[in-house]
Point group: C3
Chain length 362, copies 3
Amino acid sequence: MSDKSVLDALEKKTSRRAFLRDGSVVALVAGVATSCKPDVNKAPAAAASGASASGQTGGTMGPNDTSAGAKTQSAADAMDAMHEKGIRAFPAKTSTMGNQLLKPKLENGVKVFELTAKKIQWETEPGRFVEAWAYNDQVPGPQIRVKEGDRVRVVVHNQLPESTVVHFHGLELPNDQDGVPFITQPPIKSGQSYTYEFTVPNSGSHMYHSHHNAAKQVGLGLLGAFLVEPKEPTQYDRADVDEVLVLNDGAHGYTFNGKSFPATQPIVAKLGQKVRIRFMNEGMMIHPMHLHGMHMTVIAKDGWPVPAPWRCDTLNVAPGERWDVIVNCTSPGTWAFHCHILPHAESEHGMFGMVTALVVQK
Amino acid sequence: MSDKSVLDALEKKTSRRAFLRDGSVVALVAGVATSCKPDVNKAPAAAASGASASGQTGGTMGPNDTSAGAKTQSAADAMDAMHEKGIRAFPAKTSTMGNQLLKPKLENGVKVFELTAKKIQWETEPGRFVEAWAYNDQVPGPQIRVKEGDRVRVVVHNQLPESTVVHFHGLELPNDQDGVPFITQPPIKSGQSYTYEFTVPNSGSHMYHSHHNAAKQVGLGLLGAFLVEPKEPTQYDRADVDEVLVLNDGAHGYTFNGKSFPATQPIVAKLGQKVRIRFMNEGMMIHPMHLHGMHMTVIAKDGWPVPAPWRCDTLNVAPGERWDVIVNCTSPGTWAFHCHILPHAESEHGMFGMVTALVVQK
Amino acid sequence: MSDKSVLDALEKKTSRRAFLRDGSVVALVAGVATSCKPDVNKAPAAAASGASASGQTGGTMGPNDTSAGAKTQSAADAMDAMHEKGIRAFPAKTSTMGNQLLKPKLENGVKVFELTAKKIQWETEPGRFVEAWAYNDQVPGPQIRVKEGDRVRVVVHNQLPESTVVHFHGLELPNDQDGVPFITQPPIKSGQSYTYEFTVPNSGSHMYHSHHNAAKQVGLGLLGAFLVEPKEPTQYDRADVDEVLVLNDGAHGYTFNGKSFPATQPIVAKLGQKVRIRFMNEGMMIHPMHLHGMHMTVIAKDGWPVPAPWRCDTLNVAPGERWDVIVNCTSPGTWAFHCHILPHAESEHGMFGMVTALVVQK
């Protein structure tokens, strides 16, 4: 499912009304937190009565200790308000989205993709614009999705102030299509175009990105997902929801798909659905991704099926790695989903950066 | 085995007398190092004679080169003395220990745990006190150990100067017990109490910690181990020794279970025993844990059994991850056990921070 | 295959003539990049014609956009020239190489290795000399290669200004051979010698290094590979090419086997050969190693066979870890091979540090 269709789905299915109906974020905020009053009617003792092995009872708030200094409480309330503001804003709208599916033109059976690299202003969260070097005005660049065995042509137009090249990270291409300047090709000078063409040799979750002055160019956004469907689809290729999550930590701050919380986009699924998430780290640091509420089953590493899928709730994704996981959405609700290096995800001002949610709808 | 019982065992079994009898640390220190004299009676040639495939001979020291400058040697000796001092002090006593088993109260079949979060002074090594935000005056907080299917109530009392919440990291709880402020519950204000209650859904090595202003609150100590025994015990659940090792690297420095070397506690086992170690990273950095002398067999990731256990001597533990390993104690002695990012474990002043030992007693 | 024999092979097989013949680096550089002229004769349309599922066509350069400012273009050209210079210099010669196979003396069936630790000047790339603390004047120290069950003696001579010890990282030795000062032995004082002797207990890719003041001593170069061939060789032990790649990031900068690009040494193989690479991280940071063009099959962790080999193109190697992989050389060419933390591998001045290549010759 492309990001666009997720957003459409999100617009349709997880409006504030839906959040309210699901009894998640806003209900609690409106009912309890905003008023800063504990729910004194639900005492702990009450919570215990009638509890069964399968039954679950919501948390209950005890009485307030009135001895807390008013000044400290005021500072603490101000902090809570900042935290609340971030959550309420999520998912925040920004002007444009990255990782949009790029439809190829078909020319004599060849799928032709055009990528134009240029400097843009990119909105990582509402009102925060940063300089980006982007493919087709997007960070990440547009998502390329093809099939094993496809003949593919990628035409790159360099409108940057310096040379660039494109490396197809993970694809086992002939050497002259590998995109390393002065080793496999000359650099693509500013103002020039260059054409890659190849038959897609291996399936899986791959990436394309600059391989020239790359610490800077990739850091500024010259990167994107290159997904290859296998000739023989597996059960995982028939997942109900299929999402790319590009992790980054460069000049744009801590981002998922080019956006920082609260402008990150949630993954949305229905109860019982299977969600495939394709983690891709385009940054300089590890990001151990932690999903709340349900585990992830790891099915592929760098596009290659793992011989024995294994389960986890925190998956360490290192720079250049791709990991594919399946989440079996067995539990409804809005589930926090974030990097577990906490300074990448939260400050005294609330959650930021590498935070999103998996929303499982009843 | 709880930390308390390990300590008891340690007191009984690995006193200085025992160390002496085992011919480890102190024997060498007293016999050789303190006097700064090489053992010239054991020549290399002698060591070789009679060596068989299974027989092993202790290291032997050759003659001293008297040409070394006296001044350099004096500085080097001073450095050695500092190194020796740390080793001699290990395991150093501090006023209180974290990760102590918390006995629940039973109320109508529900196991009830009380956690009080408050500011304390915490002794990370003898005489070094730091501000900690702690559960029940401990860092890590008290160890919670329950069984799959248990009904559990956790009552949290917030005596901190700001709001908090508790997230049960790794437990697949209903959404309203997930402990994320403004998403699954309101924050627990300073002075308030809050009750979580749930049926324990999945077994394994999990954690509980703050999920509000967490980069600060977890960094200061609001964290603990939440262990769930499976309904059907495996061979690993019958390990002779069962230890939690919480790794941290925040405001308190580099610590294992809230203590820095030489105040870290060794793991103690008898020759032939199987030791289970549950690594939990509550910090912001990776810690590749290296065990000397014997390998570790990895049996679980984030509480989930790995499909094919694998062996290693250095296990990279990323923030938020838990890894369970088994060590088959086949070789007697005091074995260094430390993070292999060397600046987390040693300075010119000797070993510090993330260093402990596995003591295998004959 | 020792580094020396690789170098010999490289001298013989991958001279500039061979690079030219293979149509890799220099051909492109000479034909296109140096002149800064796009190849306008090969239009994208031409590239598409006659393309089959298996056929591949080299990249083609479109026309230059003449609107780019001359000044910007000049700066960009200068940058390209620096990048090109680095590639052209690769593999750059330096005065001495580390990781050279150390032949033991045989004494009554014991393989005797002598290691002398002392301060030297080490050339990490042409003309860049750094202070190193080295075994036998090499960084990494000489490669020790023995067989499971061998009786081995290692005589260490300390000519450093301070004490040291040698720890055999990964070998399951008796405690008194473990090389931890004040725990298993006294430190080896400046000017002294010390003898380790043991029967090699377990096979695989291991290391030896200082375990005294180690953050400094290992950082300065007191480290080396200790390889143990198994009693019963597997298919992997019969790999056509067998290389050690020691990763480091300390006082000497980002290095592979003690050298920074362009002085790193390529791995050279023939089409169809199987290459075994033994990654060893002696640094303080992770290094996710990315191979272009072909995947790696992971066969061992810390010297222990993995129960189910798995494939990847980016392998995260943490400090203290060793990973063995097999590359099936199915695709000819010069393949970039580097750490994917981009600031460890490239700057605006070109590739540097943790970059090398796998050269697959037809």
